[in-house]
């Protein structure tokens, strides 16, 4: 079964970098992984499992910034969320832009909203906020 194979593959590829796995329901699974293996797991999902990158959502939990990368395996209706936890005060993670174009805008958005730096993203400019938005001011941060 493809669903089980994907879960096993991610588990094997992550090894001890898999921090948590939640099998929520038939169509929803969550993995919390170490940020160092994110490009590798995303590559597996996109290239091998033929998953579609749906979107990513960042959240400031006050302790850290968490980013969820949502992938959709459309032929089996499975929605996979990869969670990475980025340490404050300078959250940083590898960009997925070299892997697929669809990451370009959402990474720009998370950069300006949450102050996450995506390494390897060539165009870390503003997407939604105006160009002269004050430096270091991130609307979705909960620092104060």
């Amino acid at each position: 079964m493809k669903r089980q194979a994907i879960i096993e593959n991610i588990k094997v590829r992550s090894g001890k970098d898999l921090l948590k796995f939640t099998d929520r329901s038939k169509n929803r699974i969550y993995f919390t992984i170490n940020k160092t293996i994110l490009p590798q797991i995303a590559k597996y999902l996109f290239n091998d499992a033929k998953a579609r990158f749906s979107t990513a959502s960042g959240v400031d939990t006050r302790k850290a910034i968490e980013i969820l990368y949502h992938f959709s395996v459309d032929d089996i209706g499975l929605f996979i969320s990869l969670k990475v936890i980025l340490e404050k005060p300078d959250p940083e993670v590898e960009s997925l832009l070299p892997l697929f174009k669809a990451a370009e805008w959402i990474e720009m958005e998370m950069h300006e909203m949450l102050g996450v730096n995506f390494k390897g993203h060539e165009n870390m400019n503003h997407l939604l906020l105006k160009d002269d938005w004050p430096e270091g001011n991130y609307p979705l941060r909960r620092d104060k």
């Binding site: 579609r52 959502s57 959709s72 697929f100 370009e104 805008w105 503003h126 979705l140």
Partner: protein, 398 residues
């Protein structure tokens, strides 16, 4: 010939989603495009954090003026996912009917505008005229012609009445010959073929790279549809098929949308026949801590809502991703290498928002002199159609 930039957008009071395209043109050919968005960023995700779960339904209904139920639909799906409890069956059928009625009116709206851009103003007027009865159904069922406020976490806000069903079915049945007419007009008209076939092609690989969704992906032969892939509401309880077309061009997008109209009508009629009696609301009291992801296949493609709850009365985080967010970016592929007169229809083919093109002005890079504005560009597109009609010995449209 020197490179010039044609800016398209960003503002127009009628615009659904303000966006700004800068077309870099060399003579007649588009060589590059810059896309800027964010002109009307309302921080709805942030506002959602200060509203109660019930209020958020109304808030997200205000995201889009055309497909106003898409966001509440995905949002209530997210809440259902978080709770793990499906709403009463009758509510699922009512949700499906509202979602599909919306697809019909949205596709007809797009079809009309596509006609206008190609110079077929009769198509524009007719498509919008036949869209009116659909809005009448909305008015009868929900009390509103737009922003229906039907969705609610745990169910729907209003019930539907059985005595309306025959009238709804008749109104939809009367729409079928009109759709037949549009289908015939698109398939048989050599000029529409010439204007749209092979124009603005998006290959399967482009769709994968840009992760495009909805009719934009399906017109490139990628059979993705959340309604089928990850069924919700009553979509797995009725018979219907996912429409795809292989071309990837504007013509394929026209065909996919027209054929989807038949499917939507069929889905609604089946829902009306099969709808069980019973409650319409499960009466949710509290939202426990947790995460929920809701998806809905809007007229333009997959809408994603992610909700994180911390046990309070409001979402701790609410992430919204609209389909155009993915589809508009794919214009980078579709429009490059095409001519300016085709740019209007290509940019519009993903159904982002037509009105954007109303505020374009071409400015000579060196002198700053105005060369063209929005109306000129539409005129350019329409003139091309007229020229082609002349070649096919057809009478002029205007």
């Amino acid at each position: 010939m020197a490179r010039k930039i044609i800016p398209i957008g960003p503002y127009h009071p009628l615009q659904e989603e303000p966006e700004f395209f800068k077309l870099h043109v060399d003579g007649e050919t588009v060589v590059d495009i810059d896309i800027e968005i964010g002109y009307n960023h309302r921080l709805i995700e942030k506002i959602a954090e200060s509203k109660s779960f019930d209020q958020v339904t109304f808030l997200v209904e205000r995201i889009c003026g055309i497909c106003s139920t898409s966001h509440p639909f995905a949002y209530v799906n997210a809440i259902d996912d978080l709770l793990g409890v499906p709403p009463p069956e009758r509510a699922l059928y009512i949700r499906t009917i509202i979602g599909e009625l919306e697809r019909i009116h949205s596709h007809l709206l797009w079809l009309g505008l596509a006609g206008h851009f190609l110079g077929y103003n009769t198509v524009w007027m007719w498509a919008w005229r036949y869209r009116e009865p659909v809005l009448d159904i909305f008015e009868r069922v929900t009390g509103n012609r737009q922003s229906y406020a039907m969705m609610k976490p745990g169910g729907v806000r209003r019930d539907m009445f059985e005595e309306d069903f025959p009238w709804i079915k008749k109104t939809l049945k009367d729409l079928i010959p009109k759709v037949d007419m549009f289908k015939g007009a698109v398939m048989d008209d050599p000029v529409i073929h010439a204007r749209t076939e092979g124009v603005g092609v998006l290959t399967k690989e482009d769709v994968r790279q840009y992760c495009a969704v909805g009719p934009t992906a399906r017109a490139s032969g990628v059979a993705i549809d959340v309604r089928k892939d990850d069924p919700y509401a009553a979509y797995d309880k009725v018979e219907w098929k996912v429409i795809t077309h292989e071309g990837g061009d504007v013509y394929s997008k026209l065909i996919v949308r027209i054929l989807e109209l038949y499917e939507s009508i069929d889905i609604i009629v089946q829902c009306l026949d099969k709808m069980p009696k019973g409650p319409i609301d499960s009466g949710i009291k509290d939202i426990p801590p947790g995460e929920g992801i809701g998806r809905h296949e809007a007229p333009r493609g997959e809408v994603v809502h992610y909700i994180m709850a911390d046990g309070g009365n409001s979402p701790a985080r609410h992430k919204i991703r609209a389909p155009s967010y993915m589809n508009i970016a794919s214009n980078k592929k579709a429009v490059i290498g095409e001519t300016i007169s085709d740019a209007a229809i290509i940019l519009a083919a993903v159904d982002p928002c037509y009105c954007c093109t109303e505020r374009m002005t071409a400015v000579d890079y060196k002198t700053g002199k105005k060369l063209m504005d929005g109306q000129d560009l539409v005129k350019l597109s329409q003139e091309k159609t007229e020229k082609l009609r002349g070649r096919h010995n057809m009478p002029p449209l205007q």
